[in-house]
Amino acid sequence: MSRPGLVLEVDERTPPILVHEGEGFRLERFPLGTRVIYPPDSLPGLRDLTGRIRDALLNPLGSEPLPELLRSGMRLTIVFDDLSLPLPPMRAPDVRQRVIEQVLEMAAAAGVDDVELIAGNALHRRMTPAEIKHIVGERVFTSFWPDRLRNHDAEDRDDLKSLGQTRHGEDVEINRRAVESDLIVYVNINLVAMNGGAKSVAVGLASYKSLRHHHNVHTLRHSRSFNDPPNSAMHHSYDRMHELLSESVRVFHIECTLNNDQFPSPFEFLNKREWEWTLKDQAKFLAAKRANDLAPAGARHRVWQGMRAPYGVTGVHAGATDQVHERTLAAVHRQQLTEVHGQSDVLMLGLPYLCPYNVNSVMNPILVYSLGLGYYFNMYRGKPLVREGGALIMYHPMKSEFHPLHHPSYIDFYEEVLTQTTDPATIETKYEEQYATDPWYVHLYRNSYAYHGVHPFYMWYWGAHALSHLGDVICVGADRKVASRLGFRAASTLADALEMAGETVGRSPSLTYLHTPPMTLADVR
């Protein structure tokens, strides 16, 4: 049995704690009394994954077995999560490949000819053929690419279909091929509690017209947190949309959950609690740290981006979306949830090299902001880890680096919008429409490998709740100009950062460090 999560209180015998900072990491000596939140130990992966997938498809929750839903002459669309999941990408074979292959075996046995596979990438960049092949595997790729295996195009008016509005007036516009299918099989990976369920189809296959109803400042400020679906306005919107689209098309949902084995063998010390590091782990740490610090930036970037996680699959559930997702959330909580008592004055975060939007790409400052104030700040259930008016200290070099191919609108957002204001509401009112409909960004999204023009706005809204909650944000090790552009302050060391935070939270604040990755969801009581 795996050990549960742990809230460590730093004492004099606590060794220095590992902190991620972009494409690097360090050991940090936190002040005595600092709370350090660790996730439960990594759960064991399923031994017979093939058997479990088969069992899930044949004995689904709230649905007939998949073979009974398949028949000759039907239109079947298989949709799968794009490369934003999981993080880091999974070592081949990806669990989506394993699932899709079994679904296709059953479809072939039932004589289904009209099958199409679509990546549910919404407004994310298109995936390259190599990236798609990594997810679906060689056999699927060879059989379907390029005509019947493709990325979703949220700007292809001919391939979108409006299903009307929800009772709250939200437009639901979804991929036409999927909606006009007899059955959608959605193959999902649930890395965090935010993913999956009603979100999968309603977001993955939607257009800007549909997405703007939940990806906006108001909704995100009232999603507390978006990793706690019952208390997330964003998820309430997904649910309404899913309800509407379920009237038009049947969805057979397959959700997979992973354990916390996020780092391969040479970096396995990153998955361990520091006082349990063996000599081998310490040698690995030292070797990896020195090599990483001394390596040229390009080589370092290639090593980190080339990392493939040896995840174990902890669960596969299939059937009706709601019932499946309930089981999935329980599995995610089992792996990630740690009970924490009370908030603190200061929350500290080590931001790693990767977020959902820079896989095989560059972590630009807006993504750093989104990872810290969006994703990690929202890794809570109940209450935020930091009190209202408290301070956030995050570690990241935060360099002014952008991937011009993947993030063209981010560059303009950084240079044109953030120089004027950092207030999410003002940004939304004043600039969103212009970027979302800019023909050049639309062209790059559809024909190049660019994120949609509106995507940096969503990243900014992602942190809207944190921005209104926090009294101060200080970035350790960050480029001062970049931090200032984002509206934050930079500090060289933790000591300096705490000194600066003292202006907001007093001279002896309570401190909490969220030790993640691996993924940790704090259940704050």
Partner: protein, 307 residues
Amino acid sequence: MSGGRMKLAQEIRLLRRGRDWRGRAPAPRSAQPWTEGPRTRSFPTEWARTPLAAAARTVAFDGVLRTVTWSQTRPEVHGLDLLEGVKGPVVFVANHASHLDTPLILGSMPAQVRRRVAVAAAADYFFDARWRAVATALTFNAFPIERRGVERSLDLASELIEDGWSLLLYPEGTRSPDGWARRFRMGAALLCREHGIPAVPLVLRGTYQAMPRGGFWPKPGRPVVSVRYGRPIACEPDESTGAFNGRLEDEVGRLWVEHDEGWWASLHSQDRRRAPRGPEASEWRRKWEATRPQPPSERHHRIWRRR
């Protein structure tokens, strides 16, 4: 707290912080309820008792370890005459406060006795990594012993006794955290009773001051350490294991008192069994007492002084 790129030495210093020489860190107090029990695996040690390994041990122990121990400390050995006539197998039973204890005991024994002694070493501590297991088995002729009440943990010890090996056991199960002795566990007494062999009690003094837990090297200044052997004692035919264990503790206690007050006084000491356990006082006072420097005995004083 750190910032910027560190030099390798700084990095190593930071990494080593809070860890002992083997790179282990004690679990922080708040993490102790969630500490996993040690994972041990069986490690064969028969090879360490072959003539070739014994020859290598002579070089490693006599040539290196004993030399280092005797050069870094001032050992005093008492009661070796009581070992005369002792033909193995026997079980040597000692208090345990330091990693110096084993080299000191083995180094103080006559070579013909030492060559037939196998040392019981904690399986979860010395045999958890292959390199450590090889080094321990080779240098000390050590064999693994489980100290967490695992069934059949004494099987290997029994086999060794049957093969004619004497054993060195520390019945406290671990090194003292404060320099004072703990209650003896039953293992040593049980082995003596089951195999009908005597136990040789002995007491170590000064090793905690010289190199306490967490230490890697004896403290500077060649601290005085002493080994005091007692007379071999055997379990009576109708004596229970518990009673014999009590007698062993009593004899070790007497040797402890003998070190402080002399042989005659030790014979009349009322509470000698409790003497090694130290004062019933707060932690710091116990450590304070335990770290009092050991005065060298009379014979070390110079008689002839240079002018």
